[in-house]
């Protein structure tokens, strides 16, 4: 992960508090194996991005923490002492019912709980330095905030140094004292958070900070909504049943519990929620990729849910989707031009005409026409997402569903793709359903926002209203959890946020 962060195109490595190369007066690269083992987990402990894969799946979590203690403390403490210490650690990291928890296996815990276990393990020998490598990237915003707060509290209580590696400037603004910005493994800039974030000296740092999506609440775009409704979802229901072992009732996950919404012509509607809120399922149900259990999806005077075969195929032409993962969205064995032209060809356009059109679209989304003859693996993530957008638009749809369409991209690329979508929306008079877990992005692009929690709409309204005067407690929690909100919402940043970077080929 560190290697990945250092080598990938837009990594930022941020050091907090003690960021010395020398750890506790020792240089790790010069230690012998035994001393290195004492250092690891002793004076310097580490937590990782993926708490599930970072824990041994076949070992009780209590045992995994015990092991950390037993392998470092001399003389070896008694079983009772170790047990007491494990209990104490689990309590410290805020886990409920440590007695039961200690006997659990990692798969029985939630993502946040697993990360807490990792932290408990790291804290076991009272380290002087905690290295946290993207510790919250795999977690939801609200959990992210809790974990960051926990790390910060522990740091303060213990006087411990924390080296936090993250790609998110919001997180930096929230918890860090000092920042080091890395690019291609080289330090671009370093200093206190105030200095670097407010007065970046380097153009690269500037770019990164500008690319952080910010709510443009002064914008009054919601006035432009035309009253004609285009797509109407009424009382949509969906429950997933996950079969478990023998004799156990299937686990039920409610993905949609009576969702109703209206999408107007030319409007961008953001659907936000944490993982498991059912936001992606909603988009997939509108596309009929997932069958709803009940409710109606009205489009063009038809209920999409009742369509089959050819009628469904014809209706789908007007609704298109862009998926999250640009690497999985393109057939690796199909040339980019074919990928775009296949759609129109399936509806009767001649091959030469469809290819001509595909090339034009490629140019429009900021790529070169010669890209048509290349394969997807020759393109970067951002470029692929542009191709996916071109493919979706080839059928001239009226509704575009963007399912986390920029979530897998680096921040600066994200900003460019968002800008492209905004432009295309104007040009092609598209109505857009923008599904995202990132409220900052929703605020930047949407006219209206719907907040989903466990398959229910908890809040709905114009973007500015939802962000400035949230009605539901859950919405407030989500807003509070946005990393770096206090920092970036200060007046000094409003201007910088106003201008969207223009869509460029560079992504």
């Amino acid at each position: 992960m560190i290697a990945h962060a250092v080598l990938s195109l837009l990594p930022k490595s941020i050091a907090v508090a003690s960021g010395a190369v020398m750890v506790a007066g020792q240089n790790p690269t010069k230690l012998d194996r035994r001393a290195l083992r004492r250092l690891r987990g002793g004076s310097a402990a580490m937590i990782f991005q993926e708490p599930l894969s970072s824990l041994n799946p076949l070992k009780r979590v209590g045992k995994q923490i015990e092991e950390m203690i037993l392998s470092h403390q001399q003389p070896t403490p008694s079983a009772a002492e170790v047990h007491a210490r494990v209990q104490q650690l689990l309590t410290q990291v805020g886990l409920p019912n440590p007695q039961l928890l200690e006997r659990s296996y990692p798969f029985e815990l939630s993502g946040g709980q697993r990360q807490r276990v990792m932290i408990a393990m790291a804290m076991a020998n009272r380290p002087a330095l905690l290295i946290a490598d993207e510790p919250t990237t795999a977690l939801d915003v609200t959990t992210q905030r809790q974990i960051l707060r926990l790390i910060d509290d522990l740091r303060r209580d213990r006087g411990m140094g924390v080296l936090l590696i993250t790609h998110d400037f919001g997180v930096v603004a929230d918890v860090a004292d000092r920042v080091v910005v890395l690019r291609h493994g080289k330090v671009v800039e370093q200093g206190t958070v105030e200095e670097v974030l407010r007065r970046p000296k380097e153009a690269y740092t500037r770019e990164l900070i500008d690319a952080v999506p910010k709510a443009r609440l002064d914008d009054i775009r919601h006035k432009t909504i035309r009253p004609e409704s285009l797509l109407e979802v009424v009382g949509l229901q969906k429950t997933f049943r996950v079969k478990r072992g023998w004799l156990q009732p299937p686990r039920e996950v409610v993905a949609a519990d009576g969702i109703s919404l209206t999408l107007h012509e030319g409007e961008t509607l953001a659907v936000v929620g944490e993982s498991g809120s059912g936001k992606s399922t909603l988009g997939r149900m509108i596309m009929r990729l997932t069958e709803p259990d009940g409710g109606a999806i009205r489009f063009n005077g038809q209920d999409l849910r009742l369509l089959r075969g050819e009628a469904l195929r014809q209706a789908r032409k007007q609704l298109q989707i862009v998926f999250q993962d640009p690497f999985a969205s393109l057939d690796p064995r199909q040339k980019v031009g074919d990928a775009i032209a296949r759609g129109p060809m399936a509806y009767g356009t001649s091959r030469s005409e469809a290819m001509e059109q595909a090339k034009k679209l490629l140019v429009r989304v900021g790529l070169n026409a010669v890209a048509a003859d290349r394969y997807p693996h020759e393109f970067s993530g951002g470029q692929r997402q542009r191709i996916c957008i071109a493919r979706a638009l080839a059928l001239k749809p009226r509704v575009l569903i963007a399912d986390e369409a920029v979530s897998a991209l680096d921040v600066s690329v994200q900003a460019q793709v968002l800008a492209l979508l905004a432009e295309l929306r104007q040009e092609m008079k598209l109505a857009m359903v923008f599904i995202t877990h990132d409220l900052r992005i929703a605020a930047e692009i949407a006219d209206r926002v719907i907040v989903l929690q466990k398959g229910r709409i908890v809040e709905e309204g114009a973007t500015a209203d939802v962000f400035t005067a949230p009605q539901a407690a859950y919405t407030r929690d989500l807003l509070d959890a946005i990393p770096g909100r206090d920092f970036f919402d200060q007046p000094g940043f409003a201007n910088a946020a106003g201008k969207i970077p223009t869509a460029r080929m560079s992504s």
């Binding site: 824990l55 470092h72 296996y105 798969f107």
Partner: protein, 333 residues
């Protein structure tokens, strides 16, 4: 939510395996039934075998006994009823009930297969783990080449080569049979005598599966070594051996045990050939004799019984699996 203890869970799983066992028996019996009717010639002739087919009275009796003039559904129902009562028919060649013939031979086959299976699993995973941990070393290369060769060796030929070397050339081991005949032994000496006879059949049978498990364990270890939680263990400052024992072995065993279960059928098939090579008085030998005489009821019975043996071996690997992986017993996976 009801959370069952793992002992109770294993009990339930065993029950479900038994249910599966009965289902499989019925399906295989039905398959046998269809096969007899699909075979060229009259079912009565098929059942009587080459020896009995020329005897018109026997054929008449058979037709009456199996109700061959009745509709297929009735015939099938009565046949399944017999199978469930463990009546697998009568060998007209050997003039004995098939089930007696089989049960008489079953212990020898079980002794051979279970010993080979356990040895292959034990030694194979150990060697595989060693090779995986030392990936790229001379030891690893030797193991890899050896297991590739073994994997390509016909099991019966390997047996013959062992006979050629250890019996014909060196004269160390008895070339065939289960025990030395016409000699009175004390119980211990008798057991040792059987063990001596077992060495070559077990070795040739186990060697090939040993190679499979070793190869699998090797790649499994290499894969586990790249997992994040091994990075965690290293970041914890654990020593090399405690990482291997505490974190790698168990995780690496999971896929090996899965495959071991799936290979059980092949192992039993291998036993049939090996018994033929070594004149081991088990079901394989019985199969060979029945084949020579086209003693069809015996072949059908052997197929059914050996399928049951495979399912029992599967049950065994299931239990090992459950001991290794907690996700299996709590029904999370």
């Amino acid at each position: 939510m009801i959370r069952l203890g793992s002992a109770a869970m294993i009990g339930l799983m065993t029950l479900s395996r038994i249910a599966q066992l009965i289902a499989v028996i019925l399906v295989i019996a039905t398959f046998n039934f269809v096969l007899v009717r699909a075979a060229p010639g009259d079912p009565a002739q098929v059942m009587a075998g080459q020896s009995g087919a020329s005897d018109p009275k026997l054929l008449e009796d058979l037709r009456k006994e199996y109700g061959l003039d009745k509709p297929y559904a009735v015939q099938l129902a009565s046949y399944l009823g017999r199978v469930i009562r463990l009546d697998l028919g009568y060998s007209y060649r050997q003039r004995r009930a098939v089930v007696d013939l089989i049960l008489e031979r079953l212990p020898a086959t079980l002794l051979l297969t279970v010993t080979a299976f356990c040895l292959a699993l034990l030694i194979g995973t150990t060697l595989g783990a060693l090779a995986g941990l030392a990936a790229g070393s001379v030891l690893d290369t030797v193991f890899t080449v050896l297991s590739l060769v073994l994997y390509a060796t016909p099991v019966f030929w390997l047996g013959l080569m062992l006979v050629l070397v250890f019996s014909v050339t060196l004269g160390w081991l008895p070339p065939f049979g289960y025990e030395t005949i016409n000699v009175k032994f004390s119980p211990l000496a008798h057991a040792l005598d059987i063990a001596k006879h077992m060495i070559m059949p077990v070795t040739s049978l186990a060697a090939i599966y040993l190679a499979i498990y070793a190869r699998l364990m090797r790649s499994s270890i290499i894969e586990v070594a790249q997992q994040d939680f091994i990075k965690t263990a290293r970041a914890k400052g654990l020593s090399g051996p405690s990482i291997v024992v505490g974190h790698m072995l168990r995780n690496a065993l999971v896929p090996v045990v899965t495959v071991a279960g799936m290979q059980a059928g092949a192992l039993v098939g291998g036993a049939v050939v090996i018994e033929t090579v070594f004149a081991w008085p088990g079901l394989g030998r019985l199969t060979f004799d029945a084949l020579l005489q086209r003693d069809y009821p015996v072949l059908l019975g052997i197929f059914l019984i050996l399928s049951i043996v495979v399912i029992v071996l599967n049950l065994l690997t299931d239990l090992i699996y459950k001991l290794i992986d907690p996700r299996m017993t709590t029904g999370a996976a």
